[in-house]
Symmetry: C2
Subunit: 341 residues, 2 copies
């Protein structure tokens, strides 16, 4: 909405007011997804009465909710009727192949929002107020929810990651997918190379989601499970490639270096390690989404962070990798970083 970047604009307290009430945005988007508002808008005609009928909701509630979604730029209003924006059509209408509304089940889950009630204390102490290791406490059930909910957000990244890792290479190969979660990254490598065998490593309840996805993708006969913690289990190998996606940010640099050392030891000479991360610029305040991700790591982990490329390259180097390269993923806030054993 309004900012004071245009220095000629008069100062108003809008930016303060809007940020104090920003929690309403989360609630509104979550409610709209739960009520199937975005499907109703896509089907048209987009008047309050028809959306209310489709969603089995009151006209007062729908009118105010949809007006609010226009204010936060998740819908448009033209001649009194609600229409999709390009973003809501692509990412929020369940009839779109790119719909990722299910991520609301993870990102705005009450259990994941509750820790922010203690943010003042967390900033004081400098670490999560969650018990133990926070979100990376062994067997934390949120990772089953992550695997189930976040797949549509990760799916568009799998193709680019597979191409970076394979780099045109066919033929027999072994791939380890650490913290596999939904499994989509390893599965994509198996789809792109029909002779690749993939081992998914994660806690057992999470791996059940990955195996189900491997079955749906028709690669289950080349998909093996390695249940346990990345820090505890023997990786086996040697591998041609190791995927380490959405994982390093949970830990401090020393822990990352130790893990990368273990990864390198499991790779064939010249094998590829590939991480997928939110990588902010060196200023740590841009681009917005990777930079803001540090806040999630402050609240949910003892010492994690959104690492800059320089920091990640330093970890890789200390773990004995060479040819360390950043591959920004087009149309995505994510960056793939690769190194060679």
């Amino acid at each position: 909405m309004q900012t004071d970047r245009a220095t000629s604009a008069p100062l108003t307290p809008t930016v303060v007011f809007e940020n104090l009430q920003a929690f309403q945005r989360t609630a509104a988007l979550k409610a709209a997804i739960e009520l199937d508002v975005f499907r109703a808008v896509g089907q048209g005609p987009g008047d309050v009465a028809s959306i209310a009928r489709h969603t089995h909701a009151s006209e007062r509630g729908i009118r105010i909710l949809c007006d609010y979604l226009v204010v936060i730029e998740l819908l448009q209003k033209v001649d009194g009727r609600y229409q999709h924006t390009p973003s809501s059509a692509a990412f929020l209408d369940p009839s779109s192949p790119n719909c990722l509304a299910s991520i609301a089940g993870f990102l705005s889950n009450p259990a994941l929002r509750e820790p922010y009630e203690h943010l003042t204390d967390i900033v004081r102490s400098g670490r999560t107020a969650l018990p133990g290791e926070g979100s990376v406490e062994p067997e934390n059930p949120i990772w089953v929810l992550f695997a189930q909910s976040m797949a549509p957000m990760m799916a568009p990244l799998a193709g680019p990651l597979g191409r970076v890792v394979l780099d045109g290479r066919g033929g027999p190969m072994k791939v380890l997918d650490i913290a596999a979660g939904h499994g989509l990254f390893g599965i994509e490598v198996a789809k792109q190379n029909a002779q690749a065998h993939v081992t998914g490593l994660d806690w057992a309840p999470v791996l059940r989601v990955a195996v189900e996805n491997a079955r749906k993708a028709g690669v289950q006969d080349r998909y093996e499970m390695l249940p346990g913690s990345a820090f505890g289990v023997d990786f086996g190998g040697p591998y041609d490639a190791v995927l380490l996606t959405n994982f390093l940010h949970h830990f401090d640099a020393e822990t990352c270096v130790a893990l990368l050392n273990k990864v390198r030891a499991s790779l064939k000479p010249g094998g590829c390690a590939a991480t997928l991360e939110f990588v902010p610029n060196e200023d740590r305040v841009s681009p917005p989404m990777p930079a803001a991700f540090s806040m999630t790591m402050l609240v949910t982990t003892p010492a994690g962070d959104a690492y800059t490329f320089r920091e990640l390259a330093d970890m890789y180097t200390r773990a004995g990798f060479t040819n360390i390269t950043a591959h920004p993923v087009p149309m995505s806030p994510h960056t793939i970083v690769t190194g060679r054993a």
Copy 2:
């Protein structure tokens, strides 16, 4: 942050992701206010270590919090040091006379955020899920908190409201301030006209805040209390002016008309009724702050709304007022609407 308004920009799910996580903005701003971060930034030099010392907080916590505040445009970062934006200097640094950080105590109060956990059900039913009449249930203690916390947000509006109501008029006059709250509006009229006598009407615990403010302003000998409900008590009078600020939005149009009728009956012929409201444009989706206010009314009241000027003018007309005029308050999202008895 980023939007898809520039249609040439590639589509990314950023707008979905950011709104699902917008609750972090509320938590971050609230924590920064509680930790006194904005005072520390104002005092300089603005490096992580000195802000951490000032706030008795960890360097990891402060670095991540302040970076996040830069992302949401509430601070700037220059050469690794945090600095105020024009807005944060004016409205968030406690050393500024315009600081309104105390409004966080009301706007992001957990008791006021909790109802949004039920927004899906609220949209279905079309009314607050709070018991009884919601936020306007008699003696609801949130109005004491409102009176204590929101005064700095309302103070800049009092001067313009007083000038509109007095319109240059001096001499003896009687003014009724309905739902007086912090009392600042009636008190300002008493300050602008040394012969004005003001009666503040509100629930007794709230009026204690108003009387204390009248004492601080030195007008307590011309300030009377009328404790009770605007719908229940006899207004007395006749008055030269009646103030009805931040009140009509809680009720449906019929209730507003009935109350405005009662107001008109308490006024001298030609006397002025003045409401202060968030008044959205007729499209109900602009400007952002008045338009978004409907959401608060959906969640906290049975039938309230952010009324357009056309709707307010219709209520005034049905209650027998004439000369109905909108006075937008400069540098504020509020509008004063007046009518003559």
